[in-house]
Every structure is written in structure tokens, then in C-alpha cells.
């Protein structure tokens, strides 16, 4: 392994991670500086139950009509985010547990997931550009983020065999992209997962307190 790749896989990643964590921390502080209102009403339901349900809502595809009507879209969502999880996991496995990717089935499993996520990325890119409603609201960041993620899946696909002797460039590409991601993410829409717990918490607390959620399903 070249010295350059070693530094890129370790020191650069750690520095980028520290940067990401610092910006996220500032972001949370920024969000918490907005005022909050306490609830003054008698509860009808459970705020805690509402929050819990709200936070896991994404794993309950039947709970939202929008998802029930578009199950394939939900499958895309799952595959895409599995790809994200696989790619992120690879950034830790390659430098800290390289033996894992000496297992052929492990590499294959990662590559299957990343390929599927890559295809979903292309589908989503097409949808964003072809659908007039989405095109109208899409920013340069929305499109760039999607392109970047799709390219990242491809880079991860090439990198997981961890062949730094014959194809070091794949690892340089992957870790270079990872470092860029870690710096760019907090300023882009990719950082939405930072807000997810907050938006779901606030909505779940209100709906739970009022007894709207958990809600009875639409009766047939």
C-alpha cells in the first residue's frame, strides 16, 4: 500500500470525520437556538409513544398511504440506503478489518447491494430530471448529491475487493470521494439524516400528545 493511500485511508478520513462531527454539532446548536413551545394541554395520547412511532415510521411502510401506493418507490428507498450503509461500512472495514474483504462471499454481497443501489441512483436521477414537478423544486445541490451518491456506489463497488496491490486507484478514488463527502455532506441535502430525528420527534410528540398517532388504519 502506498504511503498516499495509507494517509488517505486513515489520517485524512479521521480529519474529515472530525470536521463532519464538528459541523453537525454546530448545526444541532443552531437548531436548538430556535425557540420551542411547551405543551399546555391535557394529553389525549402519549407523546413518548408518538415520538417512538414517528422515529420508526420509516420502517413501517404500511403506515403511510404515499408508501402503500408506491411500494416500488419504498423498495428503491431501502435499496438505496442499504447501499449507503454498505459504502459507509466499507470505509471502516477496509482500513480497520481488511481480512473481512478477503472473504469472497462478503465482497460479493457488498457488490450486489452496491450495484442495486447504483441502479436505483440512476433511476432516481432519471425521475428527478424527467418529472416536471420534481424538476421544478430540484436545486443544483439535489442533482449533484444524487450524482455524487450514485458515483460513490460505483466507487465502493470497485473498492471492496481491497486490491491495493493491483488496483490501488480504486481505493484512492473511493477514499478520496469519502473524504469529499464527509466535508460536503453537512452543507448539502445529503445531511437530511441529521434533521430526521428532529422532524420526526417534533411531529411525533405533537401527534402522540393529541392521540392522533398511533392512528387506526383506514377501515375497509
Amino acid at each position: 500500500m502506498s504511503r498516499f493511500l495509507h494517509v488517505l485511508e486513515n489520517e485524512v478520513q479521521i480529519a474529515a470525520l472530525v470536521f463532519l462531527a464538528s459541523v453537525y454539532l454546530l448545526r444541532v446548536v443552531w437548531l436548538m437556538r430556535f425557540r420551542s413551545r411547551r405543551m399546555r394541554t391535557y394529553p389525549r395520547g402519549s407523546a413518548a409513544g408518538g415520538v417512538a412511532l414517528s422515529l420508526v415510521n420509516i420502517s413501517l411502510p404500511w403506515s403511510m398511504e404515499s408508501v402503500r401506493r408506491k411500494p416500488f418507490f419504498y423498495v428503491q428507498f431501502v435499496v438505496f440506503h442499504l447501499g449507503v450503509a454498505a459504502a459507509i461500512a466499507a470505509t471502516f472495514i477496509i482500513p480497520y478489518a481488511p481480512a473481512f474483504f478477503r472473504l469472497r462471499p462478503a465482497v460479493l454481497a457488498f457488490q450486489v447491494i452496491l450495484t442495486a443501489a447504483f441502479l436505483v441512483g440512476l433511476l432516481r436521477l432519471y425521475r428527478r430530471l424527467a418529472d416536471p414537478a420534481l424538476r421544478l423544486v430540484s436545486s443544483a445541490d439535489d442533482i449533484f448529491s444524487l450524482v455524487l451518491m450514485t458515483a460513490y456506489f460505483a466507487a465502493a463497488f470497485l473498492a471492496v475487493p481491497n486490491d491495493h496491490l493491483r488496483r490501488e486507484w480504486t481505493l484512492i478514488l473511493f477514499f478520496g470521494l469519502t473524504a469529499f463527502f464527509l466535508v460536503y455532506v453537512p452543507f448539502s441535502k445529503i445531511g437530511h439524516y441529521l434533521y430526521y430525528p428532529f422532524t420526526r420527534f417534533f411531529l411525533g410528540r405533537t401527534l402522540g400528545h393529541r392521540g392522533v398517532r398511533p392512528a387506526p388504519r383506514s377501515e375497509k
Partner: protein
């Protein structure tokens, strides 16, 4: 104010975005020197003022944590689109998606409060309103193309509360007087008279007396509609529409309370449970109106506040009103539907479902089902008082808006679009095959009546009190 055509990309199909701001009512209020205008509670449009600067200042000052999270958290996935009746009926108009509507305030938020948007606005589509015409365009979007039904909120994977963002934006514009005339007029009436239909105290008391006589005649025994009686179990609050247009619901409530033996009263002041602050986004109006009700209950030492059948009134008085008024809840606050159900369950009134033999379906009010908590209670009552109850689909928290929500009934300029997108509701109603559609919201009564007329449906709108009063078995000798 005259408005030039926007010509913005993608907005060509939107039929309301270019409507002008009409200010005749505001001018009249200024000329008449209304008290609410002179003391600054009711805001008027001033074309010479720095409205954009004021808008941005208000945005910074009023933004709360949940709203900031909703503004920052949207990923533009577009999942909300198919939940919106506006977009479902106008799929070729990309400005009808909830995400587009919310983005109109989101881009301003990004430009002035978000890091990336402040440095690279073009990268994240951040933008600032340039002038009052842009604010007027924003008015047409948040007042004219959204009924704040909250369907998109419940269908957003991220939990972005678009309906709350729409109300928040309405509130900023209301502070500048950049509102539809109907919104201004109703706000004016509520500020000036304490109720949104400018019902005078004499009209109110006369109507109560009239209804008391009606019930007395029907029952053939002395009946009371007490006003300002202290230490009662129930403080009954109503919608001014009941006084102004259809007081039968007051008589129906009086009849049920009388037969159930309720110790009840109505307040002489603070009787309007409706709240236009919910629609205009004006928390100060909302707090004042709701506060009137809470103060009345405190003054009369009432056991509980009971709210007549009204969607936004229930939501405002039961939930948001306490926050707006900064008033900690002191006593149970419930819908009259809950009171009626309790009376039936406890055997205080008896009902005969055979008296309501026509097929009945139920329309869930958005403010009650998605922002309140009553979905099963009205159904339980309907099953007790009707012999043929059938569900509408989808229902409960997934029901579609009557299309008259969020004050849209008062905004005549948006009516053609409202009736066009009501097609979804009309199809829902028609599919039930019911002859009666019951709702526990006065706003929905008018909204649904509009839909029924416009789409020529063979049905009429009823409410729980009407059906219960009809099914009521009066005490007397057992005929068997």
C-alpha cells in the same frame, strides 16, 4: 396593488398565482378608524413600507424549532405530491405539489438563515422576495392553493410539517396586511366583536331565547338555555354560524342536554369557539379568541368546556388555543360529540337508530382527524343513532379535505380552483351511495354543500347533533 405576470418557470398553469392584492376593505377599515386598527391589532397593508424587510424580520423572530427543522429537513423526494388533492386533480401543474408550496418559504429561509443558502444561494435555490409583488405571489400560493389539511404532513417520510409551514407563512403575511380580502374581513369581525360573524350580543341572546322556545314547544315542558350560570358541569360554546345562519343546532344541543339532565350554561361573552387565527396564522388573534373562552370557563367555574360541532374550532380551543393564549389547561375541553356519546353510554338519553334509516356516511374533518383526536367517537355515535352507517374511503386520518378548510370558504377569488380540486371529494362521496354525509365540522358542512351542488350529488349534509336529536327517545311511558 397591481401585479405583473410572474412568468416564472413552471408557474404558467397555476390559475391563482397572479391574482392581485385587493385592499378596499382595508382602506374602509382605515377610514372608519376601527378600534382594532387604531390599537394595532388588525394589520393593514402599507404600500410605502419596507414590507420585505419586515417580512424577513418576522421570519427570524417567529421561527420555532419544529418549523426550522421542517424547513431544513425536506429532501425534495416528492412523496407528498400524491397525497394532495390539488395535485391529484391537477397533475400537470407542478406548482400544486406540497413541496413546491413549502419551498416558497423554504427558499427564503435558506437565503437568510441557512448556511449554504447564504453563501451559495444559487446552489440550493435560495432566494429572497424582491418586492411586494413577490409577497403577493406568496400570498396566493399559501392562501389559495392549500387547505392546510395536513395530509402531506402525515405522508412525508421525513416528518416535514408542510401544513404548519403554510400557516406560519400566512401569519407573516397577515402581519403585513398582505391577505385575501375575505381573511381580512373575518379577522376584522373577530377582533372587533369577539366572534367571526360580527354577531351582536342582542342577536346572540335573542337567538338563544328563540331556540329555547322552539325546544320548549317541541317537548311540551319548561326548557332552559342558561346564560352565564355559575358552577355548571358544562360550558357550551358554539360557532357564530349557528346563530347567524342555522340555529337549529343550538336547539338540538339544548334538547339533548335537557333530556340528559345536564347542568349546563352558555357564556354571555367568550361563546365563539371558532378561531380565524388558525387560518390567518395570527397567533395573537388566536390567543385572544381562545382566551375569551378559557376566561369564561374560569369566571363561571364551569366543570368542562364543550365545543359544538366545528373542526377548526375544536382544534383551536382544545389544542392550539392554549398555546396561543399561553394559558395552562385547567379543565377538560371536549367536543359535544364526546358529551353526547357519554350521555348515551350512561343511559342518560335513549336513542332509536330506526329514526335515521337513510344511508349515512361520515366525513372526517381534517382539523379533527389529523390535528385533533376524534375519529372513533363520532363513528360510535353514528352507529348508535343511525341504522345504515357506511364508511367513506379513504377515511379517518387519510380522509380528503372537504376543500373548504383553512378559511378557503371566505376567499372568493380562489373558489374556481377550490371547486375544481373538489373532484376528489365528490368522487369519494359518490362512491358511498349514501344519502346523508355527516360531519362534525361547520366549515365542512359548507364545504361539502358546495361540492354536492357543484358536482350534482344526490345527498345532503347533516351533523351528529341533528341525527342524535332526531333519534332521541323522549322519556315517558313505555309504549310496549
Amino acid at each position: 396593488m397591481r401585479v405583473k405576470k410572474t412568468g416564472r418557470r413552471g408557474e404558467g398553469a397555476n390559475p391563482v398565482i397572479g391574482l392581485p392584492l385587493l385592499t378596499q376593505s382595508q382602506e374602509r377599515a382605515r377610514t372608519e378608524g376601527l378600534r382594532s386598527v387604531t390599537d394595532g391589532r388588525l394589520k393593514l397593508y402599507d404600500g410605502r413600507a419596507d414590507n420585505v424587510g419586515r417580512f424577513l424580520e418576522l421570519l427570524r423572530r417567529r421561527l420555532t424549532r419544529p418549523l426550522a427543522a421542517s424547513l431544513a429537513g425536506c429532501v425534495h423526494c416528492g412523496m407528498c405530491a400524491s397525497s394532495c388533492h390539488y395535485f391529484l386533480v391537477r397533475p400537470d401543474d407542478p406548482t400544486m405539489t406540497p413541496v413546491y408550496k413549502a419551498d416558497q418559504i423554504r427558499k427564503i429561509f435558506k437565503r437568510h438563515l441557512d448556511w449554504t443558502g447564504r453563501v451559495f444561494p444559487w446552489w440550493v435555490k435560495a432566494a429572497s422576495p424582491a418586492d411586494d409583488e413577490d409577497l403577493n405571489r406568496l400570498k396566493n400560493i399559501v392562501f389559495g392553493t392549500c387547505s392546510a389539511c395536513r395530509r402531506c404532513t402525515l405522508n412525508c417520510p421525513m416528518g416535514v410539517d408542510t401544513a404548519a409551514l403554510v400557516r406560519f407563512t400566512r401569519g407573516l403575511l397577515t402581519e403585513l396586511g398582505i391577505v385575501p380580502e375575505g381573511v381580512f374581513n373575518v379577522s376584522r369581525d373577530q377582533w372587533e366583536t369577539g366572534n367571526q360573524m360580527a354577531v351582536t350580543r342582542e342577536e346572540y341572546l335573542d337567538t338563544l331565547e328563540w331556540m329555547r322556545e322552539e325546544v320548549e314547544q317541541e317537548l311540551g315542558e319548561p326548557v332552559e338555555i342558561p346564560v352565564d350560570r355559575e358552577d355548571c358541569d358544562v360550558l357550551y360554546t358554539i360557532n357564530p354560524r349557528e346563530v347567524k345562519f342555522d340555529p337549529r343546532s343550538i336547539a338540538q344541543a339544548a334538547k339533548i342536554f335537557h333530556v340528559a339532565g345536564e347542568r349546563w350554561t352558555m357564556p354571555g361573552w367568550g361563546w365563539d369557539q371558532t378561531n380565524f387565527g388558525l387560518f390567518s396564522g395570527d397567533d395573537s388573534l388566536g390567543g385572544w379568541v381562545a382566551g375569551n373562552v378559557y376566561e369564561a370557563a374560569r369566571r363561571l367555574r364551569a366543570g368542562r368546556i364543550v365545543i359544538s360541532e366545528c373542526g377548526h374550532g375544536y382544534r383551536s380551543t382544545r389544542w392550539e388555543g392554549y398555546d396561543w393564549a399561553e394559558f395552562d389547561q385547567e379543565r377538560p375541553t371536549e367536543s359535544v360529540v364526546v358529551t353526547v356519546e357519554r350521555s348515551i353510554r350512561r343511559g342518560r338519553i335513549r336513542v332509536d337508530p330506526a329514526r335515521n334509516a337513510e344511508p349515512v356516511t361520515f366525513h372526517d374533518s381534517c382539523n379533527i382527524a389529523r390535528s385533533g383526536d376524534l375519529v372513533e367517537e363520532p363513528r360510535r355515535v353514528l352507529r348508535l343513532v343511525c341504522s345504515d352507517f357506511r364508511e367513506m374511503h379513504p377515511n379517518r386520518t387519510e380522509n380528503f379535505c372537504c376543500t373548504g378548510g383553512s378559511g378557503l370558504l371566505s376567499m372568493a377569488e380562489y373558489r374556481p380552483l377550490r371547486m375544481e380540486v373538489a373532484r376528489i371529494k365528490a368522487e369519494q362521496l359518490r362512491a358511498t351511495g349514501a344519502k346523508l354525509v355527516c360531519t362534525i365540522c361547520h366549515n365542512c358542512v359548507d364545504g361539502l354543500t358546495d361540492v354536492i351542488k357543484h358536482y350534482k350529488l344526490d345527498m345532503r349534509v347533516v351533523q351528529i347533533l341533528e341525527l342524535t336529536a332526531r333519534a332521541l327517545v323522549l322519556p315517558g311511558p313505555d309504549p310496549s
